[in-house]
Structures are given as structure tokens and as C-alpha cells.
């Protein structure tokens, strides 16, 4: 079992989720509450990363982030090392790829928030931030939960983009998904099966626990 790959995957998934959920909340909330002309277009745009095969998306991201690209150049100038084939590059790709999963559920949750409740908060003198923090966030929590689970799980399993942008460097950009893939490719079925089982079991317990906790908090709210 390749523990370093699992750790790396979990790290990537955790970072992706941690960064993407706020972004998703921001974008989802804006799409839900502001009415603007191009809304349908922006919504469609966000779904687009899903449409390309991951490896191909990864290829284009590689081009976009690579040393020859403006982004890559700027990053390298600032940080001193290339963006691609690094954890940071992986993370960036992962963020782009998972955007739809973070935005959609949160947007729906904001859409189903009754207007009056926000109005009530304002009329009670609550600042927009307080309203957001204490009224809106708890009420869109289940939407965020979906976003968290989808993003987390999808990052764990993501392979095409990661392989392309990260370059499958053991200990650095080789995630568990790629490690399993390598084993399958090498026809090492037992090792692959073992790693898959561990990954599945781990994720199952983890996601189940997240759901359980959120269920309990929701029930606890009742008390």
C-alpha cells in the first residue's frame, strides 16, 4: 500500500475543498441572489470543465499553466519554481475542475432561502456580514454539505487532470488514484484491489461520518 499517495490525495482533496467551498458559496450566492442578464451563460460556463475529458482538460491546463504560458511565467517569476508538476499546480487544476460541484448545490440552497428571512435580518439591524454568517450560512448548510462531499470525493478519484498537470511524481504529485491506476496498468491486480479497497473503505467511513455529524448537528439544533 502506497501511504504517501493516499496522504497526498487526502491533502489535495482537503485543500481543494477548503478553498473551493468559500469560492462556491460566493459564486453560488451571487448567481442565486443577483439577477443579471448573462446569468444563464455564467452558469453554463461553470459547468464546462465537466464536459472535456479530464486528460484533455489536463492537457489544456498544462498548456495554460506551463512555463511557456503567461500564467506560468508570472508564477515562476514570483515563486521561483514552475507551477506545473507541483502540488500547487495540481491544486489549481483541481480547483478549476471541481468548480461545478462546489457552485451548483450551494447556488440551489441559496435560491431556496426565503426572501423574508433575509429581510427580517436586515430589519433587525444585522449587518450583511452577520446576516450571512448567522442566518444564511446555517440555512444553506446542507447545500454546502453536498458541495463538500462531491468535491472531496471527486478530487480523490480524479486522475486524468492530475496525471497530466502533476506528472505522476511519486511523493510529490502522485495521488492514490494514479497509484492505483499504475498498478492496474501493470496488471498487479491484487495490489490494485487492496489499494482500491482501502481507498473505498476510508472514503466510505469518512463521508459517512460527515453525513452522520451533520445529521446530528441538525438534530441538535432542535434542542
Amino acid at each position: 500500500m502506497d501511504w504517501s499517495a493516499l496522504t497526498l490525495s487526502l491533502e489535495l482533496a482537503a485543500w481543494t475543498t477548503a478553498i473551493l467551498i468559500p469560492v462556491g458559496v460566493l459564486i453560488g450566492r451571487t448567481l442565486a441572489l443577483r439577477k443579471f442578464m448573462a446569468r444563464s451563460l455564467v452558469e453554463a460556463l461553470i459547468a464546462l470543465p465537466l464536459v472535456l475529458p479530464p486528460t484533455v482538460l489536463g492537457f489544456y491546463l498544462l498548456v495554460a499553466f506551463g512555463g511557456a504560458s503567461p500564467l506560468g511565467k508570472i508564477y515562476e517569476a514570483l515563486v521561483g519554481r514552475p507551477l506545473v508538476f507541483s502540488f500547487q499546480g495540481l491544486l489549481l487544476a483541481s480547483l478549476i475542475f471541481n468548480l461545478p460541484f462546489a457552485v451548483q448545490p450551494v447556488q440551489r440552497a441559496f435560491e431556496s432561502l426565503p426572501v423574508q428571512i433575509r429581510e427580517a435580518a436586515w430589519c433587525c439591524g444585522m449587518t450583511p456580514w452577520r446576516t450571512f454568517r448567522y442566518i444564511e450560512l446555517p440555512l444553506v448548510w446542507t447545500g454546502m454539505l453536498s458541495a463538500i462531499v462531491l468535491t472531496f470525493a471527486h478530487t480523490l478519484g480524479e486522475f486524468g487532470v492530475v496525471l497530466m498537470v502533476g506528472g505522476n511524481i511519486p511523493g510529490e504529485t502522485q495521488t492514490i488514484a494514479i497509484a492505483i491506476y499504475d498498478r492496474v496498468q501493470a496488471l498487479q491486480e491484487q495490489q490494485a484491489a487492496l489499494m482500491s479497497a482501502i481507498l473505498l473503505g476510508f472514503s466510505f467511513v469518512m463521508i459517512g461520518f460527515i453525513y452522520y455529524l451533520s445529521d446530528r448537528t441538525r438534530r441538535n439544533h432542535v434542542r
Binding site: 428571512i117 427580517a120 430589519c123 433587525c124 439591524g125 439544533h221
Partner: protein, 369 residues
């Protein structure tokens, strides 16, 4: 009309769409203004405009020296900046928070303990002690309404806007809350605008009453004034006056200070209304207490004034009072209502179908254009 006065809350709102509005309100510090009007007349909309949740096409909302809304100069404060406490008609409680939290969450800037203490005090005020930890959906309708009332006070607002705040609570609690409100009003000295459908409540609570109809403020004044001297037929109907009729002005007698009215074959002597023209058709109303029964055995005061004959069509005893409807000359289109002590009614042998004679006191007759 209040444009020059600079105290309390002043409101002027005009628009055509989406909801026609043509409203002018003023509510002084420490004054309680009751907004009355039929369902759908725009009462909630006006409160929403004052609170900053809705915008009128043109208008002005000013509290003391602070301009909250002025469409002309483009001022438009956000709801947060207008220090109002608003009880929503549908409460709009925070569903995920307990009763206590519904209030503490509003109390920004205070220490935690202080917040909880303040919130508990407010809950006590509205008789919700013991239910602090219930979420709104575990409260009954009236309990929710009281929570909404408590929450609206938490902000320590400069203006209180109450949209039917007692509609769902029982009479005992309602009376308690009304008393609290009255106490608070004198204590806090803030303008309070209250929407209600309960005219009795309006009369008991209101310093002034404002009648709203299709978005238009028709008349405002002291409740008794509005109820007894409506300026138009519409107002008379809206405040639920019975004994509303149309008659023709015969002329004025400036010596005796009366105006003569032709109605149902009678010539009625009325209080002097120099503003009406002879020959004009006017609406007039006589409050039930200015209708005097001619008793069988002893003459009453005022029996000579405007005697009118009729047949009793409806006779309902409710406790100590009997409420009587009489058809003038037997005409079903001219029902006249008044009430009597039950024992007087019995002593005079009243009952459905009985022919009676009454007098309409001249000074009680009120004319409208």
C-alpha cells in the same frame, strides 16, 4: 401636509406600479398611529417602504432629522441603517435558531451574558419564558407571533412598525401585550405604527388612526373623530359604520343653526353643515347612540327631534345589551341599527315585527359629500 414639521416619522409615498400608492403619514415621538384599511389596501406595503424593504416610485421617509428615503435627491438608506423594529405579518422568524437565539443573534456588540439576559427579558415581556430553547416550528402560532414581537424590540429601534402584531394571540395575552405596548410607548417615546383589523383595538390603542383605501390615505385623526366624523362615505364604510344613508339637502336655517335634509319622506333637522348646497344629494350617518327609542310608558329626552317610524327586523340579545335593526317605513333598503339595555327592550315589549318609533338626535347626524 406635514412637510414642514420635522419631528417624529414623516412618510410620503407615491407610485402607480406595481401597487398603487398615494400615502401621507405622520407619527410623532411617543405617538401610536394605527393604520386601518381593507385587506389588500397596501398596509404591509407601506410598512415595507418605511423599513426600506420596498421602494416607492417617488417619496420621502424622514425620521426626525434623518432622511431615510428621498427619491428626489436619491437618498435611500438600507434597512439596516433605518433603525426600525418590524413585526412581519408572517413573522419571518429564523427557523434554525431557538427562541432565545432568534433574539440574541440580533443583539450585536453586547457581551454574551448580557445578550442572553436581555433576550430573556424580552421573552418574558411577551410571556414566552420557559420556551427559550424551542425552535419556531415547535411553537404555536401565537407563540411565534409573540417571538416576532420580542425580536422587533431587540434592536432598540427608533421606530416601531407592527403588522398585525396581535392577530394570533388570545384576548388575555393580547390585552397584556397592548398594555405593555402602551407602557413602552410612554416610556420609550418612539413613533409606533400599528396595522390592525380590529377597530376596537385601534380605538383602545391609537392616538391617531389613519384610514387606507387602495393605497391611498383617506383620513387621519383621533379614532373617535374618524369614527364619528368620517369625511367620506368610503371612510364611513371602512370604519364599519352602520346607519349610512343618502339624503337631499333642503336648505339651511342659520338662526337655529341647523341644516334640513329630505330623507325617506321625513324632513330631518341636522347639525349645521354650511358647506352643503341645497338640492345636493349627500351621504349622512347617524351613530347608534344617537338613536332614541320612544318608550311606551315614559317619554325620553329628545323625542321631538326627527321622529321616524319603522318595523323591527332583527332583535338579538347579547348579554346586557339588545341589538336592534329597524326597517324605516318597513323599507328593507333602509335598515337602522341601535342598541338598548336588554331590560329596557323587554320592558317595552320589543321583538321582531314590532312597530316602533324612534328619534334621530340632530346633533348626532353627520353629513359627508
Amino acid at each position: 401636509m406635514y412637510a414642514d414639521r420635522n419631528s417624529g416619522l414623516q412618510v410620503r409615498l407615491q407610485q402607480i406600479l406595481p401597487i398603487p400608492l398615494d400615502a401621507q403619514l405622520h407619527c410623532d415621538m411617543g405617538e401610536l398611529l394605527v393604520l386601518v384599511g381593507p385587506s389588500g389596501s397596501g398596509k404591509s406595503t407601506i410598512l415595507r417602504c418605511i423599513a426600506g424593504l420596498a421602494d416607492a416610485a417617488t417619496g420621502l421617509v424622514r425620521f426626525e432629522d434623518f432622511v431615510w428615503l428621498d427619491t428626489e435627491s436619491g437618498v435611500r438608506l438600507s434597512p439596516q441603517k433605518r433603525s426600525v423594529g418590524l413585526v412581519f405579518q408572517h413573522y419571518a422568524l429564523f427557523p434554525h435558531l431557538s427562541a432565545l437565539e432568534n433574539i440574541t443573534v440580533v443583539l450585536d456588540g453586547l457581551a454574551r451574558n448580557r445578550r442572553r439576559a436581555d433576550a430573556r427579558e424580552l421573552l418574558e415581556l411577551v410571556n414566552l419564558n420557559g420556551l427559550e430553547n424551542r425552535r419556531p416550528d415547535e411553537l404555536s402560532g401565537g407563540q411565534q407571533q409573540r417571538l416576532a414581537l420580542a425580536r422587533s424590540l431587540a434592536r432598540d429601534p427608533d421606530v416601531l412598525l407592527l403588522d398585525e402584531p396581535f392577530s394570533a394571540v388570545d384576548q388575555i395575552t393580547r390585552r397584556k401585550l397592548q398594555r405593555e405596548l402602551a407602557r413602552m410607548r410612554h416610556h420609550l417615546e418612539l413613533p409606533i405604527i400599528l396595522v390592525t383589523h380590529d377597530l376596537d383595538e385601534a380605538c383602545v390603542l391609537a392616538d391617531r388612526m389613519c384610514i387606507l383605501h387602495r393605497g391611498e390615505t383617506l383620513q387621519s385623526g383621533a379614532p373617535y373623530e374618524v369614527m364619528s366624523r368620517p369625511q367620506t362615505e368610503t371612510v364611513a364604510r371602512l370604519v364599519g359604520l352602520s346607519n349610512l344613508f343618502k339624503g337631499k339637502v333642503l336648505g339651511h336655517d342659520s338662526v337655529r343653526q341647523i341644516t334640513l335634509l329630505d330623507w325617506a319622506g321625513y324632513t330631518l333637522q341636522c347639525g349645521h353643515h354650511p358647506e352643503v348646497q341645497p338640492g345636493q344629494t349627500v351621504n349622512w350617518v347617524v351613530p347608534p347612540e344617537n338613536v332614541i327609542l320612544h318608550r311606551r310608558h315614559r317619554p325620553s329626552r329628545g323625542e321631538r327631534e326627527n321622529p321616524v317610524n319603522g318595523v323591527i327586523s332583527d332583535f338579538v340579545v347579547l348579554g346586557g345589551d339588545a341589538s336592534i335593526t329597524m326597517l324605516v317605513n318597513g323599507d328593507p333598503h333602509k335598515p337602522l341599527s341601535f342598541s338598548l339595555s336588554t331590560h329596557v327592550a323587554h320592558r317595552n315589549g320589543l321583538g321582531t315585527g314590532e312597530h316602533i318609533r324612534i328619534s334621530l338626535l340632530a346633533k348626532g347626524i353627520h353629513m359627508m359629500l
